[in-house]
Subunit: 435 residues, 2 copies
Amino acid sequence: MGFVPPGPAHSQEHLVSLLNLQIDPDRLHRRIAALAEVGAIEGGGCARLALTDADRAGRDLVCGWMRELGLAVTVDAIGNVVGVRAGRVDGPPVMTGSHIDTVRTGGRYDGNYGVLAGLEVVAALNDAGVTTEHPLAVAFFTNEEGARFAPDMMGSLVYTGVLALDEALAVQGIDGATVGGELARIGYAGPAPVPGAVPRAFVELHVEQGPVLDREGTEIGVVESVQGISWTEIDIRGTSNHAGTTPMSLRRDAGWAAGSIIAFVRELAQELGGDQVATVGRIEFFPNLVNVVPNRAVLTVDLRNTDEARLRLAEARLAAHLDALRDAEKVDIATRKLARFAPVPFAPEMTARIERHARAQGLSTRRMPSGAGHDAQMLAAVCPTAMIFVPSVDGISHNVREYTRPHHIEAGARVLLAVLGELAGATEPAGERKP
Amino acid sequence: MGFVPPGPAHSQEHLVSLLNLQIDPDRLHRRIAALAEVGAIEGGGCARLALTDADRAGRDLVCGWMRELGLAVTVDAIGNVVGVRAGRVDGPPVMTGSHIDTVRTGGRYDGNYGVLAGLEVVAALNDAGVTTEHPLAVAFFTNEEGARFAPDMMGSLVYTGVLALDEALAVQGIDGATVGGELARIGYAGPAPVPGAVPRAFVELHVEQGPVLDREGTEIGVVESVQGISWTEIDIRGTSNHAGTTPMSLRRDAGWAAGSIIAFVRELAQELGGDQVATVGRIEFFPNLVNVVPNRAVLTVDLRNTDEARLRLAEARLAAHLDALRDAEKVDIATRKLARFAPVPFAPEMTARIERHARAQGLSTRRMPSGAGHDAQMLAAVCPTAMIFVPSVDGISHNVREYTRPHHIEAGARVLLAVLGELAGATEPAGERKP
């Protein structure tokens, strides 16, 4: 049986299902629980900020599993890890994967699920003694979250050649450490070159991290695009002064300017409507004392939209508000782009394939955008790519209470198995092949 | 010559001036500079947060000067230091003083000036061999700033019996240390009882910390009252969630609620007008990450007004805004009063005395309220009290750029000398007394 390249629906899916491939739900849940023990925090979540000791421990654990499953593990110069299962022919692998770093108060599914479900697909192929036509790769990318080092999705940015290695290695984190220094320290500055080899196709399975599927009771989200993201750090300088003796009219209050920005971006999101979101997640005042007008405030604004023109409009409106603030409060305002990604559409033939396999398995589906950034959006620039979402209860994400029900975890892995099996050209075990 | 009690203008001032008492400007400036070396920070300011090692070093320096000047130094249970110069009769001293703790980015004059000018008055009396009828005391009170431990003016609150000693000692600072623990650690948990002895009168000399005198070119501010102060800590709890995937309408964003409060208190101050001021000086977000909706925000609101009814109105308006936020954003909001002082009027006979002496010295004067809290407002509850202000260049305060010109420093000290000399009943040196 020859390889069937990514394309419109055809009868290949029946051949795959005839192989009786199946995931082992217990094995998948056990791996998720074991990885969640690394950097575990109160409430059942994880704190494995990129390139910390906890991240190293998580990486070591997953690399061990990869080797147990017979994968050839390589680490590249930005610390991306790729485990490859050989196919019947050489050449680019069909790749799945995600990330295993977390935010400071992360859940146990975000990122980890996609990587471990990828390993479960490999295990299912191993169990059935199936060799695919093409190699199959499971990857985890460095610093997807961006919670310690900006930009987020750093590993996949370097893998796909969008971000230069030297630039990424020089990035200084919120604790002052550099990416290069931390990679070397934890032993994950690998020898594999970047940009990495272009995969045949890429599929990322992920929890939704939003409330849409859970609210609707839909089992599988077929992700058609990823929202564009604009992160800006805003550094405001005013004059610190005694809070009791400085008339309101004479103030250059950096703290008030920050508050005005927080209020403004909420109004902006409401006014633009649609799927526009806007968040101020980080703030710091200086000197940060109850009775001193702040002379400096630093805050971040996170703007997202699936439409690039609308996202640019939101950015322009924010810039105009900053100009107005400079005039009104006589403060100095400097801005720095921490991250900027245009919205990314996924390959229609890939989304159609996911939808077809999910429905063939009797699962309800919904086409949707991703509100979060994902490594898949970087891979989409180099190969046919799409994503599979499963529901997040109450949409809670980046929080220890993040939760996805076991049957949804399993459903997503089954769809991933079918999609990857078809893309890689799964065939019957040697010796049992039909004539 | 008998004691002339505080009262309306009379001819006593002429007797005092006949004594040829005079301050030594160089000695006063040298002491100010020497104390500023303790905890010195870049830009010429000081960081001597209450009960830190730097505060201890500052205390040791000033206590040494007190002893050199022949003062009997006592330390009370909250760490207030009082140096007493004996009078011809026993009984309550006429007291002057202020504080020597600073905010984290404080100047060198705030507080320190009043204490060191008090020492200069003592030195001038010593130089002239003058004995006063009544004892003269120079005091510095613990933790006036409140930058490490709340409430501010803690030492004078305990000295005057408004705040219980046990309660003050148990206060935990922003770094987790307690007042009692830190007093013991730096060796300033003294044996003198609190509440302390009631002075005969109290006069505090201080830099204005605001722009009014400097703008007008007025040399001496005669302080008639102190603004009431209301400090509230607001602790907001929402839900942390992914900044990209949570629709605006489903958010419980503690950070946005904090921003709304910052914007509101500015509007409130503008709407109430008059001398109402409102400041958010301190804020913290949790988890404080660019792509996570904050699940918690803690901020402080500082409201001040010279009119108690207006201050209460401001507090009520703030409370109503918090109620509206609870409803609109479905956040939980807890508040804690960090400090609350009603406006304090000073004794009219004391302000008249200051005004008379300043004018007799050819200085321009202005009656004004104090926008900042001062230890004098606590003493006002137990004895006739008033304050003398000198100009702050550009009104800059709680900032390393705080500055008062040397001739204003000297003018204030000369007025203090005349006022204290009159209140204490300065007489000619023994053996030279007129019949």
